[in-house]
């Protein structure tokens, strides 16, 4: 290994993916995780009480997700070009079809579970299959489109898609736990998925880094390099671990205590957000042609902060709208009875 090279004139091109990508991947990952929890519950009993909060969580995150994605395009008004092209070699192009199919399925499920959809319950199972299939497709494309990028060593190996998917399940179950706690509904399997998922996720991250640590191989090696060279990343990594362990403890200790579930949910979402920030912004700070790093900032710039506030604001509006459609289980039972009485 050579030492002592000094760069006299160097140049950095800047980040191509901005903080919006972090919000998008967090939201869409959470939506997929929550939807799959709802799907498993619905396959046993479509009217099971735990289906409703999981579907609510999936719909809230899923319907919000495309907005930060659009914001991350530098030419958002041209999004129709995705649908006017036939770039079948591009995973992102496939994703542009999977995403609306998934969100469309979510929207239809919301309508079918709303007081207005009681007459169409026969179609529910078909829509569940459709939405679950595209949820898996969305998970595959989001992890796959990054894992194939050979030029980004922190993304390019088998650990990366596995960890990103695991983290999606953890954050998805976290959102379900929060929704169930806030609405006073049954969280179903969400605390268990959250607890077990968090343990697996933390172990997975440790294994990923341990495998790459020695000789900087694979994405774990690149990530270990980031963690050792950039102090914010090592801090973030520690925070991810604390969130993961904390979330697991809170979820597994008392899965029926709403306040602990909510705490576990918040920790799970926070851990997944931080993990994505490390992976997306941290990996982009890693130069491809030089063994250096671009200056890496946390949530210190006003643009990123505005993005966070905007995304959370939009999520709040969508949650408020969804509350009209996915009413509380008790109210739904009342309206169901009323509807049958009227008939």
């Amino acid at each position: 290994m050579e030492h002592g090279i000094v760069d006299l004139i160097s140049f950095d091109q800047g980040f191509a993916w901005r903080h919006w990508a972090v919000w998008y991947f967090l939201l869409v990952g959470s939506a997929v995780g929550a939807l799959l929890i709802a799907f498993v519950a619905a396959m046993r009993d479509e009217n099971a009480p735990q289906v409703r909060p999981a579907l609510f969580a999936a719909a809230a995150c899923g319907i919000t997700a495309p907005f930060p994605l659009l914001a991350d395009l530098h030419q958002p008004a041209r999004f129709m070009h995705f649908y006017l092209s036939l770039a079948s070699d591009s995973i992102m192009w496939w994703g542009s079809w999977f995403l609306p199919a998934f969100i469309g399925g979510l929207a239809v499920l919301v309508l079918l579970y709303s007081p207005f959809g009681v007459r169409f319950t026969a179609y529910r199972r078909l829509v569940w299959y459709w939405t679950a299939a595209f949820a898996v497709a969305v998970l595959a494309y989001t992890a796959g489109e990054m894992a194939i990028v050979r030029a980004r060593p922190a993304w390019h190996d088998v650990f990366f898609p596995v960890l990103l998917s695991l983290s999606a399940f953890v954050s998805g179950s976290g959102v379900v736990a929060i929704v169930a706690a806030v609405r006073g509904e049954n969280p179903g399997a969400a605390p268990r998925v959250l607890g077990v998922g968090s343990v697996l996720f933390v172990l997975g991250v440790l294994a990923w880094i341990a495998v790459g640590w020695g000789d900087s191989v694979g994405s774990g090696g690149a990530f270990a390099e980031l963690a050792t060279k950039v102090s914010p990343i090592s801090l973030l990594l520690l925070m991810t671990g604390v969130c993961g362990v904390g979330g697991a403890l809170a979820a597994l200790a008392a899965p029926r205590v709403a306040s602990l579930n909510a705490l576990a949910g918040v920790l799970a979402v926070l851990g997944a957000l931080i993990f994505r920030w490390e992976l997306f912004m941290g990996a982009q700070s890693q130069l491809k042609t030089e063994d250096g790093l671009m200056p890496f900032s946390l949530l210190t710039n006003s643009d990123a902060l505005a993005g966070l506030i905007g995304t959370v604001g939009l999520l709040a509006v969508i949650v408020a709208v969804l509350s009209f459609f996915l009413v509380h289980e008790d109210e739904n039972a009342d309206s169901h009875t009323a509807s049958h009485t009227a008939l």
């Binding site: 091109q13 958002p76 992102m92 042609t289 063994d291």
Partner: protein, 243 residues
Amino acid sequence: MKTRRELLSLGAFAALGLAAAPAPAASAQPKPSSSGYTPRWGMVIDLRRCIGCQACTVSCSMENAVPTNAHRTVVSTYEIPTDKGPGQAVLPRLCNHCENPPCIPVCPVEATYQQNDGAVVIDAEQCVGCGYCVQACPYDARFINEETGIADKCTFCVQRVGAGLLPACVETCVGGARNFGDLKAENSHVATMIREHKVDVLRPHMGTRPQVYYIGLDGRLQDRVEAESGSRQLREQNAHEEG
């Protein structure tokens, strides 16, 4: 009587003209299309002749209206240890117009493509600015142009080559280090250089088959350069202090 400024300007133009001489303009001339022949454009950079003046960087920016915070080409300059103490090494960087360009298959809207002559270009009307190609390029040769909102990169100055001119960076290379021409034509200047010299490409293990060749490339600069300190570190310190 000419002023000193005018004389200096004349001198500079004369120098540019002389500097352009080693790169034969004829080698850039596309063959008549009626022959059905399509060249394969490529570049050979003779690092022994590069003085790191950044004339190529400036001329590229002027020719292609590159924003001030980005570059399509730049001459990375390093201090490297040698047997005789610290020495200087230069490395002009640009798009490698690879035979196997990883930026093309990832594009979700078919905006980036390779012309028959090998130049990898971007359809400015089609690009959505998703930045996926920027991630996929292992040479940091692409960027998002903040003024246009689309991906941007070296095109081998297609607008100039199409008119029978050399790319701006080649035209203005003071030392005649940058050589552009048809790699397919056996007697072209670039093909002869490749035949007669030991040439290297950047990051060959990435499997992209770059078509920008270097003569006299220090092995320590071929892959990720392990620069321990320097201008980037200073920038980071400044950003940290300002932040």
